[in-house]
Point group: C2
Chain length 270, copies 2
């Protein structure tokens, strides 16, 4: 199953929640701290418990790189634990000149075998092209991000009146000749999401920012319902994996994803 | 010595060439291929031979990540070999929401102890802020990059007539309250460099793109001479480290950096 097939399968099962495995060594519950690899142990418990309900997993590279090469090893060991039919997103926000992007694409999409990756568009077409060569992968390009800094550049108005992030969406649509491009759109920006649904068209959308960052699951799902389209993933990281913070962390994460999924499904089918 | 002191020291010695250790396992000379760690062996030989002339070293993360966690280990082992008074730049082009950028900053600037890092500005202020907290580090933020794709977004004209990359330069100047911010400006864009020298002001400038990408060392150095200012680094990667491709690779790299340095110094002091 390729990346887009995995996304469609889960969406068709009514699953829209992506679990962000932003596993912070400083926030681990006491019960895993004495294990040989506490982060791996934590991830393993979450994956075993939650995979029946997860639409996707997103691994934020920063949290693994912080532990140097050992962290990267944990990242590789973690993705090996995720069932084959669930989309795995490398939240790496890469993007560089062509020959360097080619290396990143090889590293992350081929060798590590992630299904999907997040990409920063700033450097333009040749920085993105190596990532979208393989039609079996799914590449989420940053459009309007969930953070306050999105106003600095992404929301700058261009000469013709469009915003920079809107031009990014237009370019992604133009580059999407293999149907393997998507965008990242902050769930905290629900008004802009609503205004841009036609512009986004059929591009898959990854929406971070629900939970700790204040985005509304309800607003996002209602927008997609209104436009009668799926192919979206709402990412929740801290709100799921640190729901309890104690030895019942996996059980608490499970209850939370079931509840979020139920809410999303309920709103979508209202 | 902090990052900016290292840069100033080398510049004052007439050294402006940054060696890009973009070490590609597919391009290694036969003589290192049978070593336990060919990439490390290759880097070690370059560093031992060239350090008396290098103004800085830039390590492109893509080339190390491609070998997974083992590559990251090689990266850490490589930077341990570089003399203390030479600036070491992590060419990582990171940038994410605040709490994630904080993790990257900890990983790369603190734990790995790089002096400097390249950052992608797309996500705005809070994505950059964690990197520029420490006044002893030097953060190069992408302005106008050396690649063709720079036209797609960086060279978009904003409502007020400035280009996006110019707004980035203005913002970097505004954020540079600790004198630890610089910019990346492609050496292939020498005309735009010349036009923007006043806008850039006293920000240190990292200039990739000389050599394989076609940028002109002469044009760049002449521009800085005209404005009577130093604090710049011209990065050359492939043009130095693969100069010979055979067992004399380190000797050939040495001759090339001596020659490039001489050219730069000669032009600067003309």
């Amino acid at each position: 199953m390729n990346a887009i097939e995995k996304l469609n399968k889960k969406n068709n099962e009514g699953k829209f929640i992506c679990i962000g495995l932003d596993t912070d060594t400083n926030k681990l519950p006491a019960c895993v701290k004495d294990k040989a690899n506490p982060v791996l142990e934590f991830n393993k418990a979450i994956i075993e418990k939650c995979s029946a309900y997860a639409a996707a997993y997103k691994l934020n590279f920063a949290f693994y790189e912080r532990d140097g090469y050992k962290g990267l090893q944990t990242l590789e060991e973690t993705i090996a634990l995720i069932p084959d039919d669930i989309l795995i997103i490398a939240d790496a926000k890469r993007g560089d000149i062509g020959n360097t992007s080619k290396m990143y694409a090889e590293a992350i999409l081929e060798k590590m075998n992630f299904d999907s990756i997040t990409i920063n568009p700033y450097m333009g077409n040749d920085s993105i092209e190596p990532f979208i060569k393989n039609p079996d992968k799914l590449v989420f390009i940053l459009a309007l991000t969930s953070n306050a800094g999105a106003s600095d550049f992404e929301k700058q108005k261009l000469e013709d009146g469009t915003y920079l992030y809107q031009l990014v969406i237009d370019k992604v649509n133009e580059w999407n000749t293999k149907n393997n491009c998507g965008i990242v759109f902050g769930a905290t920006k629900s008004e802009e999401l609503h205004q841009n649904m036609e512009r986004i068209g059929q591009l898959p959308v990854l929406l971070p920012g629900v939970g700790a960052q204040g985005g509304s699951l309800e607003d996002v799902v209602k927008t997609f319902r209104e436009y009668k389209r799926k192919k979206f993933l709402i990412n929740v990281s801290r709100g799921i994996i640190y729901k309890s913070g104690k030895s019942d962390f996996a059980e608490a994460a499970f209850k939370e994803i079931v509840s979020l999924n139920d809410s999303a499904g309920h709103i979508f089918n209202e």
